[in-house]
Amino acid sequence: MLTIANQLGLTTSAWQPLGVARTILATMSQVVSASSSYVNLVAQGGYATTAAAMVDSNGNPITTWMDLVSSEVYGNTRIAASPASGVIVFANAQSIPYGPFPIGSLHLKNPLTLATYSNTLSTEQIYGNAGSTIPFNSTVHFAADAAYSGSNGSAIDGTQLVLTTPLAGVTTLPLGTSPGSSSMVGTNAETNQALLTRDQDKLGSISPNGAGSALEYIATTPSIVAAFGAVSATVTRAQEILVQSTGVVTLYIANSAGPSTSPDCTIVQAAEQFWAVPTGMTLQVVPAVTVYIAVRVTIYVTGSAGLIGGINGTASQAVQEFFSLVPVGGLYGSLSTGEVSLSSISAAIQSVAPLFITELQYASPSGPTALAVGQVPVLDPSSTFTVVVVPFA
């Protein structure tokens, strides 16, 4: 503004820095600058592609524009987060029964991710086994606590949650090892990128001719699938491929924790048959295939020993969350197939404390993990995240 005023013949060099004339121009310049930034957002907000990539000054996603574009252009709304929940089986080796427990009074922890869970029903008890030394099994419903409301509260089959509410003689059984018990799946709110993919996939559903993107759109849109049954966990990822030798289209589906269950596949199959499968096409909806990736890493951080506990748990959560976003079949990088690259795992861990983590040393994996068609990565329960504090020099 000062330059323009000068070009118009005003003697701006004579204006004092704190004088009225310059102060007004300086103030207005800041207003114009802010307006310019807003116009930039207006331009970016016009495209789903750029709206999906918007972040604030701290690097956090801006969802406002993407929500608008998705809703107004594609008719899609963002899928909300849902906490992990499920049934835990307790073995009580004593004759003493425990409970019933008021809601939220019985607590568990995932030893790998440090996520915590609380009971959700007030009527359940952990029964004893009077007159016998054989442990008695009881089931109690749990959900992840609010701090772990998304995929960071997920616990896969084989995970043995530990009691943080002391109950003598009581242990939990690993998930998936008893009838009624299975992995607990939490789902994050749909990311901008996932929403963009669903927007693009929706285009395929305009046609009645069985475009592959239509199949993926139907499977990953809960509002459509819900009309055909209640899935145990929202389908967040899908990949279709034609089996050349049979002509059968196979649709692999997964939730944020890993492969969807067979009953969930049945529900999605019904939705696909109703909405997306044309005459002559044979579609088979199947669970994606698990590829366990054991991440054994030593994390070197600068700072105090107090950082250890926090980084340990959040690092495994960060990797778990990253795995929950990897498309079925993987991402394309250095391999000829899909993959999960080591650098992307490192980026997930680094994001936990970028200012403090100085080095990562992996015992496993040693490089990119190849994913074939239909495969999704799952964090192996044997993973270890060891934090080593390096004092400030």
Binding site: M1, V32, G204, S207, G212, A214, L242, G247, L283
Partner: protein
Amino acid sequence: MSQTPSSTTFRDMVAAISPTWLNGWVGVRYMYSMAIQFDAIGDAAAYAVRARFPDLAPTDAFPYIANDRQIDQGFQESQTSFATRLTQWLDRWAHAGSPFGLLMAVRGYVSPDNCLVATVNNGGVFDFYPVGVVASPTTPPDHLPVQTPNPWIWDSLSWPHLYSSAWWRVWLIIWPSASTWTKTAHTYNDGVSFYGSGPSFTYDWSGTLAMAQNLQALVKKWKSAGTWIPWIIVSFDELAFLPSGGDAYPAGLYGTWTKVVPNGLTNRPLYAYARYQNAAYLDGVS
């Protein structure tokens, strides 16, 4: 009754609404210096809104619109042609999964080359855009009915012998003009035609590995999920592969690259090219 001053720019507006003491020699210039910034912001806002509309957008906005609308620009396509196709996105997507949708997309990729493009299925049914006919949602490809006998028997006499069972197969054939792609003299493993470390499907034509991969991605996007495209055939002979007959009919022998021919001199088999040589056979998608 007072009347609000009418103006088309902030510069005019400032002059119109400023009191007399601010409209002197200094005041006018001072206010102008600020108002012109708001005019610039206003213009920028207008351009920001227009930038989402293909017909009004600057060309550097096209990649974003293209990704939003899942319409891919051809490697030699003009911006005007691409803008037109971008505005047709919903009408084009309405045909996804059909020969119509696939052939429109392929024509877009080779635009402005309005060359002959066709799909032919395992039963020998052709859909095609003739040379010069502009592909658009209002102009479907020509469709030939079933021909008897089937002129397109790919592998009834050669491995893998899928002709009698794999009815879900469809071949895409492109007859590019010389300005688009040409036949190259390179052959497999001659040290020239093997581009990078990717699949060895770029010899025999002047296209690049990226073009082949883009074509594959395009076909994957626009074909029906239930269709297997075993090969994308780029024919450099305008008389080859035609539904009306001519050169290069598979005759059941195209399953493998070679075929055995009679050897009049010895009992040893003599191998010859099974497939018509004046064409490139790019890996398809399933």
